[in-house]
Symmetry: C2
Subunit: 122 residues, 2 copies
């Protein structure tokens, strides 16, 4: 079943906790992942929280990539939303798994915008 | 089953297509929704695409709210990621449903970061 977009939810368990608390590292990992799959970045927002944890969001022409980290649990929640077939979102997911050294990752694919064939674009 | 976060995927079908192509309206709807549930905005990124469609992302202290619209299908994909119990993400979802005049919405709740009890925070 095809949709207008593919939304990958990425459960990154058992990561390297030090990386998860390093805003510069997280930003670099996200930008490198976007670059690796040819995504076009149109906006970004990165924040480090107290006492720990990082949020990073890339707005891309193809939708978005986000991450929220819990260093105290070695856990990060990422999602990759891609519309069209302009980039390989699963490759982006695998890139984040590798860069964050997640030893127990889970990749959940959710097709978004599965529109009935009866609806034609205006 | 509780997780570190709750991720709501919001399928907004049969929306008012004119609203979906109006960047100012979409930004207003997102900001009002965030305000309504007491979320703390730490960053934002909004873009209108050619020939149509809007992407909007709010980075919030409690994680993120995003939307991607396909006016030609009357469809928008939103997601609301909240960590902790600091705001009622389902209320935020219902706010977006109402503001975008979605007549056929679907709200999917995905618990994120369900960590085994054996893992204690560092």
């Amino acid at each position: 079943m095809n949709g207008l977009g593919m939304h990958i939810l990425l459960e990154l368990k058992d990561c390297n906790p030090e990386l998860l608390n390093d805003l510069d590292f997280i930003r670099g990992a996200m930008l490198q992942t976007a670059s690796q799959v040819g995504a076009t970045i149109v906006g970004e927002s990165f924040h480090r929280f107290s006492p720990q944890g990082v949020t990073g969001i890339l707005a891309i022409a193809e939708s978005h990539i986000s991450i929220h980290t819990w260093p105290e649990y070695g856990y990060a929640a990422a999602d990759i939303f891609s519309c069209g077939s302009s980039f390989e979102s699963r490759t982006a997911a695998e890139s984040l798994v590798e860069r964050l050294e997640a030893k127990d990752p889970e990749i959940i694919e959710v097709p978004r915008g599965v529109i009935p064939l009866a609806v034609t674009p205006r």
